[in-house]
């Protein structure tokens, strides 16, 4: 093969994969503006399913429950995930590090049904013993926070690895207390990773159906649970409308956060360069 035909083949392959990845999403969005009750047959453009969405009480309360859980579980995930990342990265030589590492990776790879079942059985045992917790918002939150912690710790760890440990040492040499070092040096450097960990774990929680189904109690239906039970029964145009709204919000958030991250990164590089140029003067 010549160089040029190689390139054509490579571009064609990549294009085909992107097409495969995006075709279903584009179809969902396009057919959400379809007037027909049949999801797959185009009649003409309308926003009728969006108006139907506005009146869909079940779905709206499910969305607000999901938002609540996603927000709280993302906060918890970033908190515990940061601790996990510090424990694994900064104190790399403590007894039981391997155990912590494998416990932290278990929720990442273990099938959701096992994580959900095991958490539920633990919570039921706890309830038999203490009379608490009732299944509901709190138990779903706990499940999502567990999954989120595992992901957040991966994001924060990869950032910690890139960070220059000498900056912390320099701050300490200059007399900063450990808390000051954390506030003034470590935290600002870590901020972009914390933001992306928050967004990632928020999305994971907002998307989860398996853990929620295991951990939910009567009257607590998250948005994915409602969508899942409708999708099981068949095709439903309101799902397309929900999908379009979700996809729009998520895409904006992801693109905005990637701009933010690269902005922070560039600013940091500029400041570092300035600092070094001062030294060289």
């Amino acid at each position: 093969m010549s160089q040029a035909s190689n390139k054509v083949f490579a571009n064609g392959w990549m294009f085909a994969v992107y097409l495969f990845l995006y075709l279903p999403i584009v179809t969902l969005v396009v057919f959400s503006f379809n007037d027909s009750k049949l999801v797959t047959v185009w009649s003409h453009a309308s926003t009728r399913w969006y108006s139907a969405l506005m009146q869909d009480g079940d779905l709206i309360s499910a969305v607000s429950l999901s938002l609540k859980i996603a927000f709280l579980s993302a906060l918890m995930s970033v908190f515990f995930g940061t601790f996990t990342a510090f424990a694994l990265h900064r104190y790399s030589r403590f007894r039981g590090r391997t155990i912590l590492h494998s416990m932290a990776t278990t929720p990442l790879v273990m099938p959701d049904v096992i994580v959900g079942l095991s958490l539920l059985l633990m919570l039921v045992s706890l309830q038999q013993w203490l009379g608490y917790p009732e299944r509901g918002l709190f138990t779903i939150l706990l499940g999502h926070a567990l999954l989120g912690t595992a992901y957040a710790s991966v994001v924060v760890t990869s950032r910690l690895k890139e960070m220059d440990g000498r900056l912390d040492e320099a701050a300490m040499d200059l007399g900063a207390k450990p808390l000051q070092v954390f506030q003034l040096v470590t935290l600002p450097l870590l901020a972009p990773a914390l933001v992306s960990a928050f967004l990632l774990t928020f999305t994971l929680s907002f998307d989860d159906v398996v853990l929620s189904s295991f951990l939910s109690g009567p009257g607590f239906n998250t948005m994915p649970m409602v969508i899942f039970s409708r999708a099981r029964l068949g095709l439903n145009p309101t799902i397309n409308a929900v999908a379009t709204v979700t996809i729009t919000i998520v895409s904006i958030a992801v693109i905005a956060s990637s701009f933010y991250t690269s902005h922070v990164e560039r600013k940091r590089k500029r400041e570092t360069a300035l600092a070094y140029s001062d030294v060289n003067k």
Partner: protein, 301 residues
Amino acid sequence: MNKLTRFFQSLFQGNKLVIGIPYGWFILLVAIPLMIVMKISLSEMESTSISSMISWTNGLPTLKLNFANYQFIFSDSLYVKTFYSSLKYALITTLICLAIGYPFAYFMARAPKHIQPTLLMLIMLPFWTSFLLRIYAWKTLLVSNGVINNVLLSLHVIKEPLAMMNNSFSLTIGMVYSYLPFMILPLYANLSKLDLRYLEAAADLGTSPFKAFWLITVPLSKAGIIAGSMLVFIPAVGEYVIPELLGGPDTLMIGRVLWDEFFSNNDWPMAAAVAVVMIALILVPMAILNSAEASLEEGKS
């Protein structure tokens, strides 16, 4: 406020807390639950509490273990078939993801440096949009009066709608679609760090590009191949949502069986036993993943 500051100060003085907090969190939510699953899988339907498993003889506690659930799983042909079929679908998914993902990751790593972040973000973006909704989207595409059939019928490519839904085809498409990014990302991470001088040296010594690819690129990306394959294979074995929405009556998957034992039959000990067998099946792949990740990390530093 002062109290809070002192609390945080104590936190950073005591490394024990930095280690203790995540340790406690994961022991409570990972280690103990898995032990309880193990325990309940060995109990009978009526007695799922710990106290009922311990009987007191002469003032000493003795543990009653009940292997009936496991005996049932291994003697019932439906369970055995389901485990076999889950492993089969997971393997097929992994191989197809590798066949599509390896060339993709390779081309992406060779693309101009300045567009690589965009290419990478385009792979991650679907991953951020709801997994459930994307699986539902395939349903609208594949059903007999679905979008693909409608387009093909109107173009007169086919006369009868193709049966693409609720069979192994739709299941495999859904699984490959969902897990492809998990294959591409570790492969790309690995291939983008490949030292191109090895390939130049091989070319200088007269090796053909094709031979150099098999003798140099593939062996050097072994860790990426293994990590990607395990990241696809392990969750695919226990997948529930995709077989439920896209699979059919013939596509047996163990995640669905566990779900039905739990939610339809309310047989918690049986569901727990199915979970334990599933964990046993993915234990070896998990160990392989761990060592592959370790060698990926060595490669980075």
